[in-house]
Symmetry: C2
Subunit: 171 residues, 2 copies
C-alpha cells in the first residue's frame, strides 16, 4: 500500500484561489443576465487612477491605481428610489448641466436649500436649484439669462426628486 500526502497543516487547495478570491454561493440569475454577469461583477472594481502621474510612468501600470471605485453603487445606491431624466435647455449651465445630459435623481432624498431638484411647475417639468428662504421656495436657474422663479400658492408645484449625479457622454 502506497502512502502519499496525509492529513496535515495547509494541505489541500488553499482558500481564495478561485477567480473570485473568496467563498461563493449559488444564486439563481435570470438567463438573460447570466452571460453578462461576469462583466457586471467586474464592474464593481473599476480602477480609479490618481489625478497626477509621476514622471513618465505609463498609466497602465498598477502602481498608479489609487483605489477601486464601485461605479455601480456610487451612482445607484438604492435602485428603488432612483430614476433618470434627460436635461433640456441651458438654464443650468452654471452648475455644469448641459442640454442632453443624463440626470440621476433620488426621489426620496429631502429637497433641502440649494439642492438641485427636478420639479413640476404648472405641469412643466424642470431642473433648477431650490432655494428655501424663510419658508419661501424659489427655483433658481444657474444662468443669468433666466430669472429666479418664486413659488406662489396659486401654482401647481411638486418636487420629483433631488439630482445626485449628472452624466455627460461624448460621441
Amino acid at each position: 500500500m502506497k502512502k502519499h500526502g496525509g492529513a496535515r497543516e495547509n494541505a489541500g487547495r488553499p482558500r481564495g484561489v478561485g477567480p473570485h478570491g473568496e467563498a461563493t454561493k449559488p444564486v439563481r440569475i435570470p438567463l438573460s443576465l447570466v452571460e453578462s454577469l461576469g462583466s457586471i461583477l467586474k464592474s464593481h472594481k473599476i480602477p480609479l487612477y490618481s489625478g497626477r502621474v509621476s514622471a513618465g510612468r505609463p498609466l497602465e501600470s498598477d502602481n498608479h491605481v489609487q483605489e477601486y471605485v464601485n461605479l455601480y453603487k456610487k451612482l445607484v445606491p438604492e435602485p428603488e428610489s432612483i430614476f433618470c431624466v434627460k436635461a433640456q435647455g441651458d438654464s443650468m449651465v452654471g452648475a455644469g448641466i448641459y442640454d442632453g445630459d443624463l440626470l440621476i435623481v433620488d426621489r426620496h432624498e429631502e429637497a433641502g436649500h440649494k439642492k438641485i431638484v427636478i420639479a413640476s411647475v404648472n405641469g412643466e417639468q424642470t431642473v433648477k436649484t431650490l432655494l428655501r428662504v424663510k419658508g419661501q421656495l424659489v427655483l433658481m436657474p444657474q444662468n443669468e439669462k433666466y430669472p429666479p422663479l418664486p413659488i406662489t400658492p396659486d401654482m401647481e408645484f411638486s418636487i420629483q426628486g433631488v439630482v445626485k449625479h449628472c452624466v455627460r457622454s461624448f460621441s
Copy 2:
C-alpha cells in the same frame, strides 16, 4: 379514489411568474456580493422618464416612463478596458468638465480627431481635446485661458485613453 386536475393544456404554474419573470439558472456569486445582488440586478432597469411631463401628472406615474436605461452597460460596456480618473483644473470647462468630475475612460478606443483624451505629456497627465491636423497632434484645452499645445517629437507623449463619460456628483 378522488381525481382532480389531470394532464391538460395550461395546467400547472405558468412560466414567468417568478420575481425575475424569466427562467433562471444557479450561478455562484462571491459571498460579499450576494447581499447586494438584488439591487445590482434591479439597477439594470433604471426608469428613464421623458423630458417633458404633460399637464400636472405626477412624474411617479408609470405613464411617463419612456424607456429603461441600463446605466451599468451604458457606462461600462467593457469593464476590462475602462478606468476612471478625476479631472483637475479648469482647462476643459468648455466641454463641461469641471474640477473634481469623475471621468470614465476607454483605454482601447482609438484616439481620433476631436476626441477628448487622457494624455501623458512629459510626465504630466492631462485631459484635453485631441486634434489631428495633417499628422500633427495638438492638445486643445476648452478654455480660452489656456493655449493649445502642439506635440513635438522631443516631448514624451502617450495617450492613455478616450474620455467616454463625465460624471459630476452633487453634495
